[in-house]
């Protein structure tokens, strides 16, 4: 049995105005109800990462790196490295916070409160903690820091998380569609003026202007537009007749309206397959070429396209302001890419 004093956390400690925001629980407890893991990930917080934008500006990013990897992702990868697991596995994610406190929330997964990464309901991690969960539903998720989330998430502290069915990659969910080619598109918008803030900005009542978000850069999977039109990290290549799965993650603070240059079908939303046996009230949604697919921040949508002829098919994502609904950045808030079929 783990020796955990739950009264030192939001689980059993008294909730106050002070520990809700300014002075949140900070602990490094063992994992309660721990069971052996089938697969373990480590995520170490970094700051002072950089993305070079098309105008030459080097914009600061924070995120997670994988200390177990041999550097294939680079020292400060953005977005943070993929977590990919199988349905039914017991997963441990070890967070190593470093200098400041952070958490990991595995967004869309439904673990226990202690493993959910919300500071005021549990604790923020000042050194390290092992999050435990066992995904039951295959699909597309993501993970992100849930401390001062408005800032930490915008600074880039997120990465994709994919749950494969027992059959493994190539099938979206058991009994669901198969795919030959897969793309993970984490869609984001960046406000460079927020980069001067410290990790705790605003928490104790100061006006950090975190209510005014004015994104200037628009990215897909870490690649800023318009490089998204050509960068091989984003552009999809397939052959006619293949099924292409596009895993869409709206990691921005904008309402996305996107169009595809060919007919598409939505087969999954928020990690739940449409029309799967225990969801007889749902069915896949056809999106004819050119029709707008709307996506709120933090949603994930699994789209499959099946090109039947060769050609280059555009995909266009338009970022809309949450208050005015105007296209961001005075009409420039767009990211485009392509599906090239040979």
């Amino acid at each position: 049995m783990a020796d955990i004093d739950f009264t030192r956390t939001g689980v059993s400690g008294e909730a106050t105005y002070d520990n809700f925001s300014c002075n949140v629980w900070s602990e490094n407890p063992p994992t309660p109800d721990r069971v052996p893991a089938d697969i373990t990930f480590e995520r170490q917080v970094y700051s002072s990462g950089r993305v070079t934008m098309p105008d030459g500006r080097r914009v600061e990013m924070w995120g997670f790196r994988d200390p177990l990897s041999s550097g294939a992702d680079g020292d400060k990868p953005f977005p943070s490295p993929l977590i990919r697991v199988r349905q039914g596995q017991v997963v441990h994610t070890i967070l190593r916070s470093g200098k400041a406190t952070h958490t990991i929330h595995h967004h869309g997964l439904d673990p226990s409160t202690f493993n959910d990464g919300v500071g005021h309901l549990s604790f923020e991690v000042s050194a390290d903690y092992t999050y435990q969960f066992s995904p039951h539903s295959p699909g597309t998720y993501f993970y992100h820091c849930h401390k001062n989330t408005v800032l930490h998430f915008e600074m880039g502290m997120y990465g994709p998380l994919i749950v494969d069915p027992p059959e493994g990659p190539g099938t979206l969910f058991s009994g669901g569609p198969r795919y030959d080619v897969e793309a993970i598109w984490a869609i984001d918008d960046v406000d460079p003026t927020w980069r001067t803030l410290n990790a705790d900005a605003g928490l104790c009542g100061e006006d950090a202007r975190l209510d005014r978000f004015r994104p200037h850069y628009f990215l897909i999977s870490g690649v800023p537009a318009p490089r998204t039109l050509t960068d091989p990290r984003v552009v999809v290549r397939a052959r006619a007749g293949q099924a292409v799965l596009l895993r869409l993650i709206n990691a921005s603070y904008s309402v996305l309206r996107m169009t595809f240059g060919l007919d598409a079908t939505v087969f999954g939303v928020d990690g739940r397959g449409l029309g799967r046996p225990n969801s007889p009230w749902s069915r896949p949604i056809p999106i004819p070429a050119g029709r707008v697919l709307e996506m709120s921040p933090a949603q994930r949508i699994d789209v499959i396209v099946r090109p039947t002829r060769t050609g280059t098919f555009p995909v266009r994502m338009v970022f809309h302001d949450w208050v005015t609904d105007a296209i961001q950045n005075a009409g420039q808030g767009v990211a485009e890419t392509r599906i090239i079929v040979s």
Partner: protein
């Protein structure tokens, strides 16, 4: 200084209850009063708002409840020094044009199909509703059962097979997807979202002319509320946070009275999106029910969702029910357009957030 000095204003909205109407009964009169009010926000700041009150002018933004088809007269007294009005978008005839200062306006109409509605002051839209004039109207369906006999919050004549199947899947049948109790009318929470721009409130207080088109361009919200409360207060509010045991499904009536879009995100369970509205505010019952952890709630949207109160599905089987981690398990709900988690430009997460509590793995009734 980060402590509030006083209690917030947004106490649990008491309901104005329905009565059973017959063809012979006259319209039931519901009185609302518009009052200028000083409102204390989560960080202690005071802003000016206009508020609809009910019940001898003590209950702000009362939830008005009626039974589908019941004849209602809404009578609005305007105690503010400028004209106001009343509307219930999507409900024909439920409109009162401008009511002069000190005046009274009335509208008589039949309560609409079972579901969730939003009442508001439509003048200089969206200005008057953004300065506080809005509230929730709930219509309880006359006939609401699925062909399988399960109660729903919707009119039987509007039910889709998909929504009926969701309610049929809640119950004691061992094979039921949401094994436990059926959904029971009244097992619900209302989540009324809005945004507050203190500069707009100040304009209203100074009786400067409000131009809707200009407000659409300049609205800069700095405070974000759910049922009139933010952050810590909303999380401690019994009328706002759902509680229950595994197997006690609950209806969430989510409404956005503001101008900004929200993306409510719930932890611990996915929710099933049952209904929405079209561009004219008319109710849509979904014929394809999507399970989501995040849903889009545009300005003036009204979406009803089912929170199934199932065991959190991603706790390892060998760790359920937890032996070391105590109940209740508590899970956040917050808007994922994270600027809505701030108050006065900081104070994360003192915005649109609350939580829900899973009290235990089995219902007390099962323990004999």
């Amino acid at each position: 200084m980060n402590r509030r000095m006083f209690l917030g204003y947004g106490a649990a909205a008491a309901a104005i209850a329905p009565t059973i109407a017959t063809a012979q009964t006259p319209a039931r009169v519901i009185d609302l009063t518009i009052e200028p009010t000083d409102v204390e926000l989560i960080d202690g700041r005071i802003v000016f708002q206009w508020i609809f009150y009910g019940d001898q002018q003590t209950v702000p933004r009362p939830v008005v409840r009626a039974r589908e088809g019941e004849l209602l007269t809404i009578r609005v007294r305007n105690n503010a020094p400028e004209a106001h009005a009343f509307a219930l978008p999507g409900v024909p005839g439920a409109e009162i044009p401008a009511i002069p200062p000190g005046g009274v306006g009335m509208a008589t109409f039949a309560a609409p199909a079972g579901g969730t509605y939003l009442y508001l002051d439509p003048l200089h839209a969206p200005a008057h509703r953004l300065v506080g004039l809005h509230g929730v109207f709930v219509s309880e369906p006359a006939g609401n059962a699925t062909p399988g006999g399960a109660a729903t919050p919707f009119a039987r004549t509007r039910l889709t097979p998909a929504v009926a199947a969701v309610f049929d899947a809640c119950g004691p049948d061992a094979a039921a997807r949401f094994h436990g109790d059926p959904w029971r009318p009244g097992r619900e929470k209302i989540w009324l979202f809005t945004q507050i721009d203190p500069a707009l409130c100040a304009q209203a207080e100074l009786r400067q002319p409000l131009d809707g088109a200009r407000v659409r361009q300049t609205f800069a919200p700095r405070y974000f509320t759910i049922n009139g409360l933010s952050g810590f207060d909303a999380s401690e509010d019994a009328a706002t946070k759902p509680k229950g045991y595994v197997g006690q499904p609950l209806l969430l009536r989510t409404v956005n009275a503001g101008m900004a879009t929200h993306a409510p995100h719930i932890h611990g369970n996915h929710v099933l999106e049952l209904s929405g509205v079209d561009a004219n505010g008319r109710q849509i019952i979904q014929d394809n029910v999507i399970e989501r952890d995040t849903w889009l709630l545009r300005a003036l949207d009204r979406k009803d969702l089912l929170l199934p109160f199932e065991p959190p599905q991603d706790i390892p089987a060998a760790a359920w029910p937890p032996r070391e981690e105590p109940f209740p398990l508590r899970y956040a709900m917050h808007c994922h357009i994270e600027m809505s988690q701030t108050a006065g430009g900081g104070n994360y997460p003192q915005g649109i957030t609350t939580h829900w509590e899973l009290l235990g793995p089995t219902r007390p009734t099962q323990q004999g």
